[in-house]
């Protein structure tokens, strides 16, 4: 399982969202993707999910160039980018079955997977219409849809954003478990979460990749305090703001 960006560049008119980004991530493990709003995190995830096309450079999933054969590349990837929502007129079960059918999971396995995910993510009754769910419950359904195909690579864009502490706790528990056997690229603004879950972190700002290293090394090299224990927050501020 591998994600590789080669000179990845994305322009929106005159604005450069990603500027010749290069990285290679191999799994398993969770890699935190950090940076201020508008730094290029979501753009990167969207390119690897085929929701955007790069202006130049390549995004490779297990060696497959997403611009050349996105269908083959997406077989290895499942992504939660921005804040998707299930179709409101579908019940939870119908929506998950729909996603499972697109992924060509056979009906028996699909039933099993849905029942496991229902338990893991504490989903509401499967007959509930998605349109009637609260924001947190919709996010659980979406996360279930993302985890349903059991792909080796997951792309998660702020997966705990907008959730209450209990829901955040549940999802972190699931991610911790998944991180042992999958490669997860997870963007986040919550440094504590990154510290808890991630073995490595990448920091981007203004479309440029500033660093990709283990969380420990980043903290040690950039997070030195004048007194006390070095912190990821200090490292982040130093990298992004140069202070």
């Amino acid at each position: 399982m591998e994600l590789k960006a080669v000179d990845l560049t994305k322009k929106f008119g005159p604005k450069i969202a990603l500027d010749h980004v290069n990285f290679k991530l191999s799994g398993p493990g969770i890699v935190g993707y950090l940076g201020p709003n508008g730094a290029g995190k979501t753009t990167t995830l969207k390119i690897f999910s085929h929701l955007l096309s790069p202006s130049s450079g390549s995004a490779l999933v297990n060696g497959i160039d997403m611009t050349k054969d996105y269908q083959a590349g997406l077989r290895y990837v499942s992504s939660l980018v921005e804040t998707p929502e299930p179709y409101p007129e579908f019940s939870i079960k119908e929506f998950l079955t729909f996603i499972g059918s697109i992924r060509e999971i056979n009906p028996a396995d699909l039933e099993k997977r849905i029942s496991i995910l229902k338990k893991q993510l504490s989903l509401e009754s499967l007959d509930t219409k998605c349109g009637t769910l609260s924001k947190g419950n919709k996010q659980r359904v979406v996360l279930a849809a993302v985890l349903l195909p059991d792909t080796p690579i997951l792309l998660l864009d702020e997966p705990t954003s907008g959730l209450d502490p209990a829901e955040t706790h549940d999802i972190k528990r699931v991610l911790k478990d998944l991180g042992r056997r999958k490669l997860i690229l997870m963007s986040s603004h919550i440094l504590q979460e990154v510290k808890e879950l991630c073995r490595m972190a990448a920091v981007v700002n203004n479309g440029k990749l500033l660093i990709l290293d283990s969380v420990r090394n980043i903290t040690l090299h950039f997070g030195k305090r004048k007194a006390g224990v070095p912190g990821l927050e200090e490292a982040y501020l130093k990298l992004v703001r140069g202070v």
């Binding site: 929106f12 929701l51 299930p86 179709y87 119908e94 996603i99 697109i102 060509e104 979406v142």
Partner: protein
């Protein structure tokens, strides 16, 4: 095999999403034919007048139904938040669009079929004569529904919101008669380049003998298309709309 299965999944998904539209348009269709029958009795229409009016009602309903049902298929995944999940699945986008388009056309055919059945029954009850050339008219209606749906789907793929595609469809449908009148009477132009003009063949086919190509007595429909001409216009529209729709849909990015 795999592509067919995925096609079927999206086809069923579109049918499910259009359930409310199928029911409401089917009911509306039967009510409209009922009202037309009532009007034809009150206004002492001849059977020819009844069937040609019926053809115009079918033509209008196809425009409205296609606009409502197909208006969303080109834009839905880019406009709704579910698209973030759907378009990141390992599926070729042309499969998604073609499955949804075919489902939309079939959805439109249900109210259209009900109109033909109701029109045939009521026409026979009132005039004791069968509807002429039903199969020909129905086939043209099918082609018109397919062509119009393709056009609206294409409009959706280049729109920013579903409402934009629907506005285009409604404008084409509701303003077409006035566009015909302006082109024909002020400029003397036969509007062969305008899709709804081809759709007039649906009603014309029900009249025996088929109306003349030029009809100076009519203000709104001075020109009427021959069947071959209508079929050609519809086929050309469907062909180019589909090519454009697939190209744009396949390459479109999901920007905020």
């Amino acid at each position: 095999m795999s592509a067919l299965r995925v096609f079927y999944v999206f086809f069923m998904n579109q049918l499910k999403s259009s359930k409310a539209a199928i029911i409401s348009f089917s009911i509306l269709s039967v009510i409209l034919v009922g009202l037309l029958s009532f009007l034809s009795i009150k206004g002492s229409f001849s059977s020819q007048e009844f069937f040609s009016s019926f053809g115009l009602v079918v033509w209008l309903m196809i425009g409205l139904t296609c606009t409502n049902v197909a208006g969303g298929i080109g834009i839905r995944d880019f406009d709704e938040k579910a698209g973030l999940l759907i378009l990141s699945q390992p599926v070729k986008r042309y499969i998604i669009l073609s499955a949804r388009l075919l489902a939309s056309v079939l959805v439109v055919l249900l109210p259209v079929s009900m109109m033909y059945i109701a029109g045939w029954i009521l026409g026979y009850s009132i005039y004791s004569t069968s509807m002429n050339n039903v199969l020909l008219s129905y086939s043209i209606a099918f082609l018109y529904a397919f062509s119009f749906s393709s056009l609206i789907a294409m409009a959706g793929t280049i729109s920013r919101r579903k409402a934009d595609a629907i506005n285009i469809g409604l404008s084409i449908t509701l303003l077409s008669v006035f566009i015909f009148a302006v082109l024909e009477n002020f400029f003397g132009i036969e509007p062969w380049f305008f899709l709804p003009y081809a759709g007039l063949a649906i009603g014309n086919a029900l009249i025996v003998p088929y109306p003349a190509h030029v009809n100076p007595g009519s203000y709104f429909f001075r020109y009427t298309p021959y069947v071959q001409e209508a079929v050609l216009i519809m086929a050309v529209y469907a062909f180019f709309s589909l090519i454009m729709a697939f190209l744009v849909y396949s390459r479109r990015e999901l920007v905020n």
